[in-house]
């Protein structure tokens, strides 16, 4: 009984819900369209209800890290309490004034979206150093990588658009011809991989769905 409830029922759920969605996509029978729309709205709710789970894991990990490091000085106490303070203030502002209030937007703009944007700026540097390391014309493959990267970079930078008038057309060509050829092949291959896994899942044969402690 236990195995049926733990392994077989979830398999059946996957199959039934998957097939219902496929029917909703491929048939013109109205009931399946309705079911598809209903199930779609369920996914958002299921996901949203589970949101506190993340806070539980984060709190536990943060507490354990503090316990392990607290002997190394009070700075670890600061690391430990800062997320709680920020969480409390921002969450409180959201609950009291609403997420579109000026109070909430203060936190959102200056912390959340500001750091978000900065993280992308950091990526400029990490991409730069990785290119310095790998954009070496040491083989034909590496030269192709270098060429694709360099030509399209020059195409996007206003300075080179002015200096090298032909670069815009050439850069567009790289993006719309060889890039499309390679990219489209990769997309088809990856889609087939995803499909094979999907079909296997709907047949109740995907190990990762049925296993797990």
């Amino acid at each position: 009984m236990s195995t049926i409830l733990r392994r077989e029922v979830p398999k059946i759920i996957v199959m039934v819900f998957g097939i219902l969605m496929i029917l909703g996509s491929y048939t013109t029978i109205p009931i399946f369209d309705t079911i598809k729309a209903e199930l779609t709205s369920w996914t958002m709710t299921i996901s949203a209800v589970s949101v506190w789970l993340g806070a539980v894991y984060a709190t536990y990990a943060n507490y354990q890290l503090y316990q392990r490091n607290k002997k190394d000085g009070t700075v670890h106490l600061i690391y430990f309490v800062v997320p709680f303070i920020v969480f409390g203030l921002q969450f409180g502002a959201g609950i009291l004034y609403g997420v579109e209030s000026a109070q909430y937007l203060w936190y959102f703009t200056n912390i959340y979206s500001n750091i978000g944007a900065t993280v992308y700026a950091v990526m400029f540097f990490t991409l730069a150093s990785s290119a310095y390391r790998t954009f070496i014309a040491s083989s034909w493959d590496a030269t192709a990588l270098l060429a694709g990267g360099l030509i399209y970079t020059l195409r996007q930078i206003p300075l080179f658009q002015a200096w090298l008038p032909g670069i815009v057309g050439f850069g567009e060509w790289v993006m719309l011809v060889p890039n499309v050829g390679g990219g489209r092949g990769a997309v088809i291959a990856a889609a087939l991989g995803a499909l094979a896994l999907g079909v296997r899942t709907l047949m109740g044969q995907e190990a990762t769905v049925t296993e797990g402690a």
Partner: protein
């Protein structure tokens, strides 16, 4: 002239920008404090928005008489069963519902959208007078798919095709790198503008 709260916000933002960038030099306490602040902010933001989703998408319809909404609410709550070892297996039920729905949608959309249509577009480009460019694309498509063949060793015709395919893939990877690099550079410019605006405001500009 900026108000005191706006100025304070910009000061905090500027501190966080530099604490984040400082990691590129080396790990330091400022980076760590900034990281922890972001952790708290990010979780708070995520929870608030999801609470709003639960309220709008489930709670309001439920009290309005849509009794079916009990099901996703209960399924969502079952996720928490993972926290106790003896009940952890119950979390498989909501996971299975989500995976079933996701897989159904994926399978239905992928066959045409990402396989058949892509082949068809490659063909029609040639048909519609795409000239040499459409032929180059077709060669790229065929050879790059060959690169992903696993059941044949990459020797002979398959090997040669895969080798050409690899060049196409590399050009595509390079172009993708470039697209991201320039985007990130834009983000860096945006952050520097933020700092500049803060300095201007600080000086009463």
């Amino acid at each position: 002239m900026a108000g005191i709260m706006e100025l304070l916000g910009m000061a905090l933002g500027t501190f966080l920008i530099f604490s984040t960038l400082s990691m590129l030099y080396k790990d330091n306490p400022f980076f760590r404090v900034g990281q922890m602040a972001v952790l708290g902010s990010s979780i708070a933001h995520f929870i608030l928005l999801n609470m709003q989703t639960v309220y709008n998408n489930a709670w309001t319809p439920l009290i309005g008489g849509d009794i079916l909404m009990v099901i996703p609410l209960v399924l969502g709550l079952l996720m928490y069963s993972r926290l106790k070892k003896s009940t952890a297996w119950l979390a498989r039920y909501p996971s299975s519902v989500l995976i079933g729905i996701g897989t159904g949608v994926m399978v239905a959309g992928t066959v045409s959208g990402q396989v058949l249509d892509q082949i068809a577009v490659t063909i029609t480009d040639v048909l519609n007078g795409g000239g040499i460019n459409s032929m180059i694309i077709a060669v790229g498509v065929v050879t790059s798919i060959t690169f992903f063949v696993f059941t044949k060793e990459h020797t002979g015709v398959v090997g040669s095709s895969a080798k050409i395919g690899r060049k196409f893939l590399m050009i595509s990877l390079g172009a993708n790198w470039s697209g991201e690099l320039v985007w990130y550079l834009t983000q860096l410019v945006g952050r520097l503008m933020y700092v500049k605006n803060f300095l201007t405001a600080l000086m009463g500009g």
